[in-house]
């Protein structure tokens, strides 16, 4: 494999170019399509300006960003203490927690939304009718990705020694978690947060079938009358997700080469390839 013949090299190059064309051309087409002036010909940036100027679209973007932030906060508040506790005090529950965290990969979002009606009757009864109530179900949707990222980071530190040292010096549980453990699993938390943001910004299934106007729902709605604006917003989401994951991959891998660290992308991937103990799937 290392010493490829010149024939092999040419074959490789040709294949790479073909794959590159297949994957990059639609993205180029989006950039072209969204800057085309359909009425007068030539180029215009109107579709891109609409991202801020179009009220409905702008509102939807704000809602999706808020949802992303809330989802990350709630997910971290629920998941991080649970995972630390399981490792320190309740190792018997580890298998169950892992299984439950990976379960959303096997149960498609479409199935969840079909069965969600009764649950949401209660949620809206207590909290009112707001797109932000989607936070709860989104926390469940991002669980598999977040779990793998945080689990990887927790595995790479000596959690027991760290927490015992902190506790013996007089720290309470809150101090131990916030000031001792969290700084040590920072890369895993960052991965979990970034991947969750990407998932929430791209989510369409649950939002559209629950009737809330998030970014993706609005993109589809606008697409019926104004193609270029929808295409511009779509390309913006894809590029934003790409930047997010690329920055993450450079941030968390930069300094520590070769170490068994919590690298984000393989973990996003790892969420799709289950550990032998639990079985899971994916839902794009």
């Amino acid at each position: 494999m290392r010493r490829a013949s010149s024939g092999g090299k040419i074959l490789r190059a040709v294949l790479l170019v073909l794959f590159g064309l297949f994957f990059l051309f639609p993205l180029y087409a989006m950039a072209d399509f969204s800057t085309r002036n359909l009425i007068q010909g030539g180029r215009t940036l109107q579709a891109w300006k609409n991202l801020v100027q179009d009220d409905a679209l702008y509102q939807a973007i704000v809602i999706s960003l808020l949802l992303a932030v809330f989802t990350v906060v709630v997910m971290l508040l629920v998941l991080v203490p649970t995972m630390i506790w399981v490792r320190l005090r309740a190792p018997w529950a580890k298998g169950m927690v892992e299984f439950l965290c990976l379960l959303p990969l096997t149960i498609p979002a479409l199935v969840i939304v079909v069965g969600l009606r009764n649950v949401y009757l209660w949620v809206t009864y207590f909290l009112g009718e707001s797109a932000l109530t989607l936070t709860f179900v989104y926390v469940v949707v991002v669980l598999p990705f977040a779990y793998r990222a945080i689990d990887g980071a927790l595995s790479s530190i000596d959690l027991r020694t760290l927490s015992e040292a902190a506790r013996s010096l007089g720290a309470g549980w809150a101090t131990t978690i916030l000031r001792v453990v969290v700084p040590n699993i920072w890369s895993g938390i960052l991965s979990a947060a970034f991947i969750s943001i990407a998932v929430v910004l791209g989510e369409y299934t649950i939002a559209s079938l629950s009737g809330y106007q998030t970014l993706q729902v609005e993109i589809v709605a606008i697409g019926k009358s104004d193609g270029p604006t929808s295409v511009a917003a779509s390309l913006a989401t894809l590029l934003f997700g790409f930047m997010l994951l690329l920055v993450l991959s450079l941030l968390t891998r930069g300094g520590r080469r070769g170490a068994n660290d919590a690298s984000p992308i393989p973990q996003a991937a790892a969420a799709l390839t289950p550990a032998p103990a639990a079985q899971s799937g994916a839902n794009a």
Binding site: W85, W92, V113, V139, V140, T205, I265, G281
Partner: protein, 298 residues
């Protein structure tokens, strides 16, 4: 409190274990509450509601799954998932092989893997619009081909039919295959190739007799994962096909949004159950294959 303590010590070992478990398990309550309310209850609702209507056990909704419309949607879904799983697996494995030969930390590899992650997992609606902008009625490629060759690439709107869905799904299946197959390719150790070559094997013999057999379970497993992925995917198809419901996820949409009109109350539950059953069966087979792979991947 001595009495309480002696009471505790008189409890059976099983009882004491239970008490300890309860104390240890209590901090898990918020997490469990979340999962139960927003994942378990919806799933159980789907399963129960597909055989109970208005409190009575009835197989009526299950029977509706065998109607012409439902069977046609199921068949098309299987066709779509099967063809894109095979296409995605073969092409994705080739792309993964191209990527693995570049160094692990190169910017090229990081960029490609990040790209694959975005397209495979977070694309959804955006991918539908990517193809509308490329080969839709006013797509960039359509107009270009029209200009150069006077040939209408968009035809009679084939992008909105099953053929179109196959093309768009392949666009996110290949990246997913790359993500799940790269670790398997990396698991192939250099020493195995050296051993084979040292014993006089040619490159072709190494691939045919060592690498391919080792990679087969991972490849088949990934193909199953791709099948389940396409079978459950909703966003891309929903954004592309706004009228009609050729595939199962879109039939669920129309059952959900127009059940009052059609008088098919609860049909969505049965369809969702059908989806759970298919995906679960595929994922169990996948799990078995992954366990086989895990034996040598470690």
């Amino acid at each position: 409190m001595p009495t309480a303590r002696s009471g505790l010590s008189r409890m059976s070992p099983a009882g004491r274990l239970l008490g300890r478990r309860l104390r240890e398990g209590l901090p898990l309550a918020p997490f469990l509450g979340f999962v139960v309310i927003f994942l378990i209850i919806p799933t159980v609702t789907v399963i129960v509601s597909s055989v109970y209507s208005d409190g009575d056990f009835s197989l009526e909704r299950i029977q509706a799954l065998f109607s012409g419309t439902a069977l046609a949607a199921l068949w098309k879904s299987v066709l779509l998932s099967g063809s894109t799983a095979i296409l995605g697996a073969v092409l994705g494995a080739i792309l993964a092989w191209l990527i693995v030969s570049s160094p692990r930390t190169s910017i090229f590899r990081r960029a490609v893997i990040s790209m694959c992650s975005v397209l495979a997992q977070f694309g959804g609606v955006a991918l539908a619009f990517a193809f509308l902008a490329t080969i839709g009625l006013n797509g960039v490629l359509t107009l270009w081909v029209q200009d150069r060759f006077g040939f209408n690439l968009a035809g009679a709107g084939w992008l909105y039919s099953l053929t179109g869905l196959i093309l768009v799904y392949t666009y996110f299946q290949i990246p997913l295959m790359v993500i799940v197959f790269v670790p398997a390719l990396e698991g192939l150790r250099e020493q195995w190739r050296e051993a084979a070559v040292g014993l006089g094997a040619s490159t072709w013999q190494y691939w045919r007799q060592v690498a391919f057999p080792l990679l087969t379970p991972a490849f088949l497993g990934s193909t199953l994962l791709l099948f389940a992925n396409a079978f459950a995917a909703y966003a891309t198809a929903a954004a592309l096909v706004s009228q009609g419901s050729p595939i199962l996820p879109l039939l669920i949409r129309s059952a959900l949004t127009s059940e009052v009109v059609l008088g098919q109350s609860g049909f969505a539950y049965a369809l969702a159950l059908e989806m759970i059953v298919v995906v679960a069966a595929v994922m169990i087979a996948y799990g078995a294959l992954v366990r086989r792979t895990a034996r040598w991947l470690q």
